[in-house]
Symmetry: C2
Subunit: 374 residues, 2 copies
């Protein structure tokens, strides 16, 4: 069950799209991929645990081109962008990355992208794993809006880890150090400029570079590795252990269309003013009056190494079913299993003792806040 040791092979085709960085990723010795937005997402290089320790101490370059952009452009772009999310976009600054839950007409989560505005009347929706291009295009087509909805040639490359500032400053200059969290600057590289944001799918700090133009992918990768030898720079990817410790949710695993933003702990991103309109608002308001009956929590799991969580694991307390675990890993730093799951209201208080049905048998556990160790 350890992806560094065995497991099924991945059959490749044009449909499992390569990225501008795939040749470099392969040369760096990638061992495993996932598929994300119909695209290769590198997941393991040395081993899940070795990658984890390195990420927490040094700096890694991640091919996250699979975080595709949906570009909305044209006179109705602003209207459509706001219609898509319960988060009020009117206060979004020009250099800001906005975490924007997006829901359907029933209030069910469709994706949890980051929205930014790289230019006037132009939005990028930087998506998690679902074809938001089709949703956004469908809504625009149904509403006869005046805007183009496309997938531009933009491939994010993440630089993550405690030495990310030092590495990026060597390639883009010291200006990167002054980029605030979830803000971006447009910085020069070769004969172009890239959106460089302080963001990323780890809690170790770092940046995401929105590489506009596939042909710049390898030159940027090479520049980062040439500059970072003494920083111990390595290829990496989103790390299952680190992101669970850090409480970073994964769309499709920890939340699906079956869940509302409030269940996912994202209620603070849902505007409820009377004047405010978006798809799903009425459904969200109805649910808000009662509050959610279950919510995302961390769960400590006792005992040794855990198999990957490839389907929900039932969680119980006493005789009652009280929720499910949706992501789990054994944490070397905490020397304990860490998990993310959806827990019923009567049991979601941190400290509640629970039992988790893993494929290897029942384990004792304890409800916790997210992130772990915070």
């Amino acid at each position: 069950m350890n992806p560094t040791a065995s497991g099924p092979l991945l059959t490749l085709s044009r449909r499992t799209r390569r990225t501008p960085f795939t040749d470099r990723v392969n040369a760096a010795g990638v061992k495993a991929y996932s598929i994300y937005n119909h695209m290769l997402l590198p997941t393991v290089f040395e081993s899940l645990e070795a990658d984890y320790h390195h990420l927490k101490r040094h700096v890694q370059v991640w091919d996250v081109a699979c975080e595709r952009q949906v570009e909305i452009r044209g006179p109705d772009a602003g209207r459509l962008a706001q219609w898509l999310t319960p988060r009020d976009l009117s206060s979004m600054a020009d250099d800001q990355c906005f975490y924007t839950p997006m829901v359907d007409e029933t209030g069910g989560m469709l994706n949890d992208p980051v929205t930014l505005r790289p230019g006037p009347d132009r939005y990028w929706v930087s998506i998690a794993d679902s074809d938001m291009l089709l949703w956004i295009k469908g809504v625009a087509t149904g509403m006869h809006l005046e805007c183009d909805v496309t997938e531009p040639d933009v491939s994010p490359l993440a630089v993550q880890g405690p030495k990310a500032d030092d590495l990026l400053a060597r390639v883009f200059g010291d200006e990167v150090r002054s980029i605030r969290f979830f803000r971006f600057k447009r910085l020069p590289f070769a004969d172009t400029t890239f959106v460089v944001a302080r963001s990323g799918y780890s809690k170790q700090g770092g940046f995401e570079i929105y590489v506009e133009g596939s042909s710049y992918g390898e030159p940027l990768w090479d520049a980062l590795f040439a500059a970072g030898g003494d920083l111990g720079v390595r290829a990496g990817g989103p790390n299952a252990i680190e992101r669970i410790e850090g409480g970073l949710l994964s769309y499709g695993s920890d939340m699906t269309r079956e869940n509302t933003p409030h269940e996912c702990g994202l209620g603070r991103f849902c505007d409820t003013r009377d004047s405010f309109g978006c798809i799903g608002r009425d459904a969200l308001l109805r649910m808000l009056s009662d509050g959610p009956s279950r919510q995302v929590r961390g769960i400590w799991i006792d005992g040794g190494p855990l198999p990957p969580c490839t389907e929900p694991w039932a969680v119980s307390a006493g005789d009652a079913y009280c929720g499910q675990v949706t992501s789990a890993a054994w944490s070397p730093d905490f020397e304990r299993g860490v998990a993310i799951g959806m827990i019923d209201a009567a049991y979601w208080t941190p400290g509640t003792a629970v039992r988790v049905q893993t494929p290897d048998g029942e384990r004792r556990g304890q409800v916790n806040t997210l992130p772990f160790g915070a």
Copy 2:
């Protein structure tokens, strides 16, 4: 590059969804998966070539649960279903499976599903690899239509190969023999009934059983294997060699949003009457006046075994670039490489000599009709 021998591992999570058949597939010794509609699609059991020979001689059971259904239900269901495709649905019989290209407002292919009507005011769109749930929901939401768009608990299981009729008759009775091509019957199994259609992603004949209710998955799988021992029944999956020989296109590989139905050889499914309306109709009509400038063709490729085609391979004739190969395999039965690609009009006549740039070097080739050997 041979998926039976080596290649990257696939990292599993809840997001790479299991199917009702996954435990049986694993027990049958699956070696490789692809991901299709965020779900596991078994691709290799013994080896790509051994699976191919078996499929052409015996009968296989395929977990194609990843052919998810989008259910459209309600008073506006018929109107919406027609709005989605340029194919006229008014002549679709109650027991008919309709191959229905679906395009966006620019006429670009979004998917090439099969549409059927399992009940009154109820449509199933049986999809290829893109989130058509989001497109269809988006259009319905934008147009304020009265219908529910959902993903029901329906998981197709395919029975393919020359002995498919014999095997299925043993489980569902001799009535299966009278099901015509791309027609279906509702047949009893245990305490329920399933839509059983004569269809499938091979040219060897066979059926797709729309398993409604995940709990029936393993009992049906087991019934098929119990009944088919002397027929040599085995677990299998869509076979890359056989489907290329048979000219079956793969959405995402052989066609994308960049292509029109006419480029994909699907012009006969596009209605052009004045009275007819669907998304993309105006764009398709504009293109129709000129005809496509490139179209899908078969391409023979000389020489020995071929690596998998994981990105388009350039095709040239003389000094000119004239298209690209998008799927390729070495065919044991033809003892020659077979490929599917998009070829420019000046070069698409069968017999035209071309050169194909494979990752292993340039090969000579020849344009052909599809399917091969027909």
